[in-house]
């Protein structure tokens, strides 16, 4: 702003104000005050009060922060309401370059935030693109709020369908195509409640364009959402399980998709400490602190295994023929077509209930039944397990030395170099990618205690999850100031790399390290096995499984999408300084990418 001119005491008094314009003429007054006469064509075109505004009110009442989308005319009515009527807040429209990215972003977001995000997809073709990502979320038991447009009057007839949801019905929990605005409100709330009631899963609403675009008649009330109650095990089962747990001499806890939130981890710690039972639980999302003395599979032979939401059929390593108990909500979400969970759950006792929701009652009951005598026994075995845990940890960390100075860089070294750069970050850190292909080095070397420290796998193993799920998780982490880390395969990145642009465009801080082995290495190993089994030479195992000739320049790729990027880094001594520079960028609020040439497996 300009400073006012200084006035002096001797300055002349200001001149009296004059009107800035002449008074309006009668004709001008009439023009400005009377309604403009619209032609019938314009009259039928203008919609003053579109129904999709009301839809935005409903979405806002559901607390949907974001709407990840690739634009399509089948939902142009709703999109216009989101950006104009809704002022592009709650939900905020996120531009995605592929529907698979939109859904996978919502998948990653929900794993951090504990609530769904919306993915808005174009009729038929957009939904087809998003299908694999929906399947991943379904298998991972993660809620995604999907809305698909349907425009029977639209420009491309092939984008319509009589039953739009049919193509994904096997892997969404519920779908509906409301016929009225009132019905939309009720369906929207029902969809949200179902998605967030365990077993959580994606839901889908099909939104007819006519419904979006029609003028609002009356003002249907925005329905209210009541927090869902979670299905816990019945009290008789809880008592019986507690009795068996207290009586067992070496029980094991096998944790799969248990902890949805920090509360789940805390409850599992409470149960494990009460029983002094080892917990095998850093496999698929963090269920148990990685350095807890009871983390692992204990020692000796187990005589009871308690499976909590196992991802397979259940079971634990080192088991004698003991009792198997399974608490899993999986059976409440079976699909006839896809073998998502690998068959019926194993167990002498199988309870179809949510494990996290059952834990408080189970803890209470164990506490009630345990005697001083048993407590002494528990403490004894606890000391043994702690020793085993400490020894195993010592060995695992020491094992990181293997190939420490190798070129290309070992995956252990990537994790080890990164750890000191993130561990003391004042707002904490979050590892937002799967780790199985990385030799699980982050889980072995980093101190994982909070649910956002590790959010697990793809769900259904569908590649193309890594990059977008990481961006979605990083989006959720942004408001907490956490630094998000994505260490990901080169193959996975190439399914829909455009999500890097989405991260840059929406300023989502995320460090992506491409663990670049220039291959679909998993498949290369499978091919090698096949070639050997048929005794026809393994020298062609690399055909179709490597990503070379030409090598992909991920630095240029990331830069093209607007990211800070460095690489390829092959010399392990260059890694630390490059990581430091990239982490600084991320701390300053940007996404950054490092292309690191790595050993194929950890």
């Amino acid at each position: 702003m300009l400073a006012a001119e200084p006035t002096s005491a001797s300055a002349p008094p200001p001149e009296p104000k004059r009107p800035s314009a002449l008074p309006p003429t009668e004709a001008a007054l009439a023009r400005e005050t009377q309604a403009v006469q619209r032609t019938p064509a314009v009259e039928s075109y203008i919609v003053e009060n579109p129904a999709s505004d009301q839809m935005v009110d409903v979405l806002r009442a559901l607390d949907l922060e974001y709407c990840a989308s690739n634009p399509g005319s089948s939902f142009e009515g709703l999109q216009e309401s989101i950006v104009n009527y809704g002022d592009n807040r709650m939900p905020e429209f996120l531009t995605c370059l592929h529907e698979e990215s939109a859904v996978a972003m919502a998948h990653g977001y929900a794993k951090i935030e504990g609530k769904p995000m919306m993915a808005l997809l174009h009729g038929t073709v957009g939904l087809q693109h998003g299908a694999m990502a929906i399947y991943n979320a379904y298998a991972d038991r993660v809620p995604v709020y999907i809305v698909v447009g349907l425009d029977n009057d639209g420009p491309v007839a092939a984008h319509n369908a009589l039953d739009m949801a049919a193509m994904v019905r096997d892997f969404v929990k519920w779908d509906h195509q409301p016929e009225s605005l009132d019905q939309f409100g009720r369906s929207a709330v029902r969809a949200y409640t179902l998605a967030t009631t365990p077993p959580m899963a994606p839901v889908l609403l099909v939104l007819d364009a006519r419904l979006q675009k029609a003028p609002l008649e009356g003002a249907p009330a925005v329905p209210t959402l009541s927090a869902p109650r979670f299905p816990a095990a019945d009290s008789a089962s809880v008592k019986e399980i507690a009795r068996l747990l207290v009586a067992a001499n070496s029980p094991r806890i096998n944790a799969g998709q248990v902890a949805r939130t920090q509360e789940g981890i805390d409850l599992l710690v409470e149960l494990a400490e009460l029983l002094q039972a080892p917990v095998n639980g850093v496999t698929n999302r963090l269920n148990f602190p990685s350095r807890h003395p009871l983390a692992g599979t204990g020692t000796g032979l187990g005589d009871l295994v308690l499976n909590l939401e196992p991802t397979g059929r259940g079971g634990a390593p080192g088991m004698a023929n003991g009792t198997t108990i399974t608490i899993s909500a999986s059976e409440l979400l079976v699909t006839s077509n896809y073998n998502v969970r690998g068959g019926a759950r194993r167990g002498d006792i199988v309870v179809a209930a949510d494990a996290q929701a059952t834990l408080p009652a189970l803890i209470e009951e164990v506490r009630r039944q345990v005697t001083d005598d048993r407590k002494r026994h528990f403490e004894e075995r606890g000391q043994r397990y702690a020793l085993t845990h400490a020894r195993r940890r010592q060995r695992e960390v020491a094992d990181a030395r293997h190939g420490w100075d190798a070129t290309p860089v070992s995956l252990a070294r990537v994790a080890a170099e990164l750890w000191p750069l993130i561990r003391d970050h004042e707002d904490d850190w979050s590892f937002v990618s799967p780790q199985r292909f990385l030799g699980s080095w982050p889980g072995k070397l980093w101190n994982m205690t909070r649910s956002h420290h590790f959010i697990g796998n793809h769900g259904a193993g569908g590649m193309g999850y890594g990059a977008p799920a990481a961006v979605g998780a990083a989006l959720a982490n942004r408001k907490y100031g956490r630094i998000s880390i994505n260490i990901q395969g080169d193959g996975d990145l190439n399914y829909a790399p455009g999500v890097l642009w989405t991260a840059a465009h929406h300023q989502i801080p995320l460090l992506t390290i491409v663990a670049n082995n220039r291959a679909y290495h998993q498949e290369l190993m499978f091919m090698q096995q096949q070639c050997a089994a048929r005794n026809r030479g393994v020298d062609r195992a690399r055909i179709g499984t490597t990503i070379e000739d030409p090598n992909i320049d991920y630095t240029q790729m990331a830069k093209a999408y607007g990211l800070y990027a460095e690489g390829p880094i092959a010399n392990p001594n260059d890694l630390g300084p490059a990581l430091r520079r990239a982490v600084d960028r991320v701390k300053a609020g940007e996404p950054a990418l490092l292309d690191v040439l790595t050993q194929p497996r950890g």
Partner: protein, 143 residues
């Protein structure tokens, strides 16, 4: 098959230049006594990639799912024997004579024997020592 020069990254060897040597190596007659064969390190380097050994053992034989091969834990005869009849063929595929001759395996063995170690002792790596002993402060992050 086109060699891609992955190994040349660290070792300064062009895969393309060595390809002819590999072809020549494949024509060598199988020996009666695998222990007596003299392996060729350069050929072995390329074969280690061609036979995708690096897939499970890493480029220096020190990383991956498979057991560490550097330094080798067997002598040459045992090595050849093991590759013909590995204990668990679903993890370690067997290589038959017509696919990988004794000479081929001797070459790979020679390469493994020639590899320098890229694995210093854990005690000499400060980053690992800190993880083992000095991480206590990071136990309770703020949220």
């Amino acid at each position: 098959m086109r060699m891609t020069g992955w190994l040349s990254l660290g070792l300064g060897v062009s895969g393309a230049a060595l390809f002819t040597v590999v072809t020549a190596g494949a024509t060598i007659e199988p020996s009666q006594d695998p222990a007596a064969l003299r392996g060729d390190t350069d050929r072995g380097r390329v074969l280690f990639e061609t036979y995708t050994c690096y897939g499970c053992h890493g480029y220096t034989g020190e990383t991956g799912f498979g057991p560490r091969l550097n330094p080798p834990r067997h002598d040459q005869a045992e090595f050849v024997q093991y590759l013909r009849n590995p204990r668990n063929p679903r993890r370690m595929p067997p290589y038959q004579q017509d696919d990988a001759s004794d000479q081929t395996l001797a070459d790979i063995f020679a390469y493994l024997t020639s590899l320098p170690s890229a694995s210093p002792e854990a005690e000499s790596i400060p980053l690992l020592q800190t993880i083992l002993t000095g991480d206590e402060n990071a136990d309770d992050p703020p949220n």
